[in-house]
Symmetry: C2
Subunit: 355 residues, 2 copies
């Protein structure tokens, strides 16, 4: 009786739900059989061709969709990757995401995408979430200051790759560029153009490796030329304000340091902000003020003037990142690999000789 009741309620409740069992019941075969056939393991199991056909036909007919959640639970693998960036609406990350998505998808992986918003707390929270969701690996830009939290939160041999930013004391796979060298080259280029009073615009939080290294590169360039740096030429802009299009900090800076003839911006948002500020202050670029920035975005070639910049190989970064994580998942254990890619200075119209 109990049994019957169960069968009954099962049948009733499941109206419409097509599962392995429902197909099996329908065909009077076992779940195993259906599973084997639908996973292409039928031949290996030497299952009757004719039976195979019946199963396949019925599955198609019923529009069967395997429940990947159940599958994931059973197999201990979700075929999902976590992608954690600072801000998905930043073209820098959006373009890398695109590449990662494509490669991942080709390998059967989906992406759970999230933005940390440059907040350590959010990042911590999001990583936990990804881990709870049993993603098979994580690709991320960290905004952490200390390796500790990450070490605590991420299991020892978990498939992980940091990109763009590294974290001292956290020995994981990584892909990015040599920010210090790239910046140094760009600043030397400004120096070679005759500029001596060069402003350096960076962001909060300043401890982020890319920002830190770029600043280091800036200092190194001066040192290499035996030049002193006026620290009043360094400005750290508040990230939230920048996101909010509040450029007052920059305008004030430009107004207060009229001796500056060239500007180095540490990222694309900052460069656009400079353009805006200079425009409002009536400082002509490049005649009165040269500008060069880290990161290339499409529109830099169409701005007035076109903006000189340091371009990172975005596609390549995405490609390496996803491949590194996939390799770890496939247990191709390797030492944490650090991949450093080449940047390229793109000379456009926002930079010229000091006159």
């Amino acid at each position: 009786m109990r049994f019957l009741l169960k069968r009954f309620s099962f049948a009733v409740m499941k109206a419409g739900k097509i599962t392995l069992s429902s197909i099996a019941a329908d065909l009077n075969v076992s779940k195993t059989l259906v599973s084997l056939v639908l996973n292409g393991k039928a031949d290996a199991a030497a299952i009757n061709k004719e039976t195979q056909q019946r199963v396949i036909a019925r599955a198609k007919e019923l529009n069967y969709k395997p429940n990947q959640v159940a599958r994931g639970l059973r197999m201990g693998q979700t075929n999902t990757l976590g992608l954690l960036v600072a801000d998905i609406s930043n073209p820098f990350y959006a373009r890398i995401t695109r590449t990662i998505e494509h490669i991942a998808e080709a390998e059967g992986y989906s992406l759970i995408v999230c933005s940390s918003d440059e907040s350590e707390n959010r990042e911590k929270h999001l990583i936990k979430m990804l881990l709870e969701r049993q993603v098979d690996g994580i690709i991320m830009t960290t905004t952490m200051q200390q390796a500790e939290i990450l070490k605590q939160i991420i299991p020892p041999h978990y498939p992980l790759v940091l990109f763009d930013r590294y974290l001292n004391g956290f020995d994981s796979h990584y892909v990015g560029v040599d920010n210090e060298q790239a910046t140094q080259n760009a600043v030397k280029y400004l120096l070679d153009l005759g500029h001596r009073n060069i402003g350096f615009l960076t962001l909060t939080p300043g401890y982020i490796s890319t920002l830190h290294d770029r600043q280091q590169g800036f200092l190194e360039a001066f040192k290499a030329y035996n030049l002193d740096i006026d620290t009043s030429h360094l400005l750290q802009v508040d990230y939230a304000k920048l996101k909010n299009k509040d450029y007052n900090q920059i305008k004030q800076f430009l107004a207060e340091t009229p001796q500056i003839t060239a500007l180095f911006a540490t990222n694309n948002n900052l460069a656009l902000a400079c353009l805006n500020a200079a425009m409002e202050l009536g400082r002509r670029i490049p005649d009165e003020l040269s500008l060069i920035t880290f990161d290339d975005v499409e529109c830099f070639q169409y701005t007035a003037p076109a903006i000189s910049c340091i371009a990172q190989p975005l596609e390549k970064i995405g490609e390496v990142a996803v491949n590194l994580v996939l390799q770890q998942i496939k247990k191709e254990k390797t030492e944490p690999k650090k991949v450093v890619l080449q940047t390229k200075i793109i000379y456009r119209d926002s930079t010229c000789c000091k006159n």
Copy 2:
């Protein structure tokens, strides 16, 4: 013996895995108890305060992370949303994604993000994938021409919202703007400036509702002014080529129709391409050629000249989209709602009177 073997391998394999049962075993209580406590249902179940404390303490100590895949399977709900866009690297989608992500996250939902690449096949494939992954709802821009495929593939009352583009014959929730009206207004503005030979640049595939409606708006504007349209002023650019920065089609078009004094571009990529083509051909904007485009992206205010455009309320679109899908998930059943938001023409320097 058999039993022992199993226990053994179990113990070995599970080394380190913290689960509900492992905690329960550890504490000599039942899984139920632990589950209840960890889900905040302990008080409702009137569980001993002291026991609760023990459970919570141990869970924290062991750094327990609930397996959301198991939870999802059991509860028939994954707290995951599918977001399907044409191209995540397009700032238009990236910015909407940002808003959606934030609201979804606040409600406890994660996002699986994917790009259809304007391919019907990819779209079909991705929707199937999302459904198999048991996402609780889907937010998408469709690139389908016919409603049929979507109807076949998506279950009748599945939580779904289309945004940006609608699909005739597919009666779902929707949020977007009045593309026809917006375009008509913008074109009338060009007409009012004295332009009569206006080029219209659109994309493949042309059947997409937004593109279609924009073209319709273009035609309507002329009709309203009792003006004839020279169909040689309409150009449909190949999407793949555009993505690929191959602007020859546009350059050729501009070269062959020198009588054109103003251009309407149906999206941001096209506008940038026009800028590029005009530059290479030495056609000065706006003096020789006015340009207005659908969609605003940040850099349009910094280009030379700054580009006039029709701005869509991106944040609002994202917000409405995610809320609509969340409502459906929460079974707040409503008739498929169509939300049409306001656009705004932003007048910048790329448009001027015909001289």
